[in-house]
Symmetry: C2
């Protein structure tokens, strides 16, 4: 592993010059540039990331915080992981997967190693101590999902209100006037205020009232068994139900068979739309279900972009967490705060692939 010093010697230039051509940080005459490049090639030189990080105080590593609880994470989390890693890689960054509990200790521990230039948080709750800690510590971060208090928090999230509108529009356009909402049942879990559920429920109530439709809201437990139970409850509380919006896509098989118990066939008698799901999940049942696809991949990519933009911008200015007085108050107030809500994409069962999600700004 050749060092810069060796390259410099071989090219007959100073080590600084080599650094400049490696980083493009300053212009170098064609001849010298050529000699340096050649020397690097002959020696098989590659930049030592660690040394660079130490000297420049930027590691080009970002962390993705995920809840170590794990059980609730599904296919869209996987997409987020992969897309965040891929986008980061494209932008010249590394993505570290960092498990967090519900305490903010993990966050403090994480920041203290000074290994990360910035952080991405996922599965944020309406009240999230990780976000609070990050804010307090002044470490640059972007939230995927959002708390209920988002004045100064950069976030990328799904637009649940819009998704509910789309779902109800679709159902109403099919002629349905009596619509059920199936939410996840958090009984027995430590989860209190889960943003997606809370926002969806509120949007649903509001929109149903505005539209003058009949409705019922039920919750569903895990898997098919949970879905069947939910179907029973739904049919009981709203006997003339013909449309369903469902926010839990691992219970679809059960929903179908639960509805079938009372003679209701999907989609003949009841239309179902899976909220914040995926075409694949919709296609898992027979017949396939219509879905509003969660923009998980886009969220991840956008979040990485927003974070990296902020980091690369801050490169010229003062480094973030100053050890003192006014970290995070006025200094970076000028930096624009990314706050994006991404829409779901409707995929009607049986039709071909959905159009790509538009990029919000």
């Amino acid at each position: 592993m050749a060092t810069m010093r060796e390259v410099a010697a071989r090219a007959g230039v100073s080590i600084a010059t080599v650094s400049f051509v490696v980083n493009g940080s300053r212009s170098v005459s064609a001849g010298v540039h050529r000699r340096v490049t050649d020397a690097m090639g002959e020696l098989g030189y590659t930049n030592n990331v660690v040394a660079r990080a130490l000297a420049s105080k930027r590691t080009r590593i970002i962390a993705l915080l995920f809840p170590a609880l794990e059980q609730r994470l599904g296919g869209i989390a996987l997409h987020m992981f992969m897309n965040a890693a891929t986008r980061a890689s494209e932008l010249g960054y590394h993505l570290v997967l960092w498990p967090t509990g519900q305490t903010d200790d993990d966050v403090r521990e994480l920041v203290s190693g000074r290994l990360f230039d910035g952080v991405l948080v996922m599965e944020v709750q309406l009240r999230d101590s990780r976000v609070e800690a990050l804010l307090e510590l002044g470490l640059p971060f972007v939230s995927m999902g959002r708390t209920s208090q988002n004045d100064r928090v950069p976030y990328v999230d799904m637009d649940f209100e819009e998704a509910v509108e789309q779902g109800l529009d679709h159902l109403q356009s099919l002629g349905h006037r009596s619509i059920g909402l199936v939410l996840e049942d958090f009984a027995g879990t430590p989860i209190v205020g889960y943003g997606p559920t809370a926002r969806t429920e509120e949007a649903f109530r509001t929109s149903i009232a505005r539209r003058g439709l009949r409705s019922a809201i039920v919750t569903s437990g895990q898997s098919a068994a949970g879905g069947r139970q939910a179907a029973r409850e739904l049919v009981e509380s709203l006997p003339d139900v013909t449309g369903v919006l469902m926010l839990k896509d691992d219970a679809t098989g059960g929903l179908q068979s639960g509805l079938a118990e009372s003679g209701r066939e999907v989609p003949r008698d009841v239309s179902v739309v899976l909220l914040a799901s995926s075409t694949a999940a919709g296609a898992a049942t027979e017949p396939a279900m219509t879905t509003l696809n969660a923009p998980g991949a886009e969220m991840a990519r956008l979040a990485v972009e927003a974070l990296v933009a902020r980091l690369d911008a801050g490169a010229g200015a003062a480094g973030a967490a100053g050890d003192g007085t006014d970290a995070g108050t006025g200094a970076d107030a000028a930096a624009e705060l990314t706050q994006v809500l991404l829409p779901c994409v409707l995929h009607v069962a049986g039709s071909s692939a959905p159009a790509p999600a538009p990029r919000a700004s």
Copy 2:
């Protein structure tokens, strides 16, 4: 952010002493130890990971290589990500998610930054250029899954032969004598020799012959539609089929309805066992299916442990990739080669949670 120098000053000792107490690398008298600890507490000192990495030539960062192709990755990949990250974190390491194409360029690029002490590879193919490159580069790594040529490759994989035995045992114990195998259809993908499929198919053929059973093998495309088509083909080529082993768990709904088309109900007329799947996937259909749960989480944890063990062992000895003569030949031949096959755990539909997987050694 206090530095070691500041701590040393405050404790009235040398910087070296501070380093010793921080790393426990040498014994320090109780009094001094105390003073240093206090100083660290008062200053809120935390070790700078980057500086440590530069000086010690060990970053304590490992990379997890995953195929950027992404589409085929499912729930078990998610478990691998999370568990690898969690175990790494427990062992004091960081886990970077690194997307790779099918070329080995990515691997060479990755090694050259000297950011990683070691590497984990997942979704390895029977012939995998990433593994070859890693071997050649001499970077410590552990493979999750295995190529067809594994003399010197440390790996952790699922025991497909054993899984097929378990599945057939189960089916046979239920009285079935005519059994179908459903594999993934790779037509239209660049995948040639996919280990899981190839190993399962071979084990199936062998075992079926030994047991003297009737059988048929079909492939299934994506989702419910693919599963239904597979069911049709299966029924056609093996009309008296009463048992099915299935290696593709996103097509289960379709398999059921496909079988139903010809009047065969699951589980009344046909028993289905999902291979290398999960209880959750089995519970997605109504009624639930029996599964042989893939040990994805255990694989990830074991792989991390094996890799870290190797790294921590090599700490005393010579650093891996020497720049010269005999890197990787005799030097570390003494280090034991981890090669583990983990069994699936049978979860019979309707029963309670499966027993935890035993740890192979």
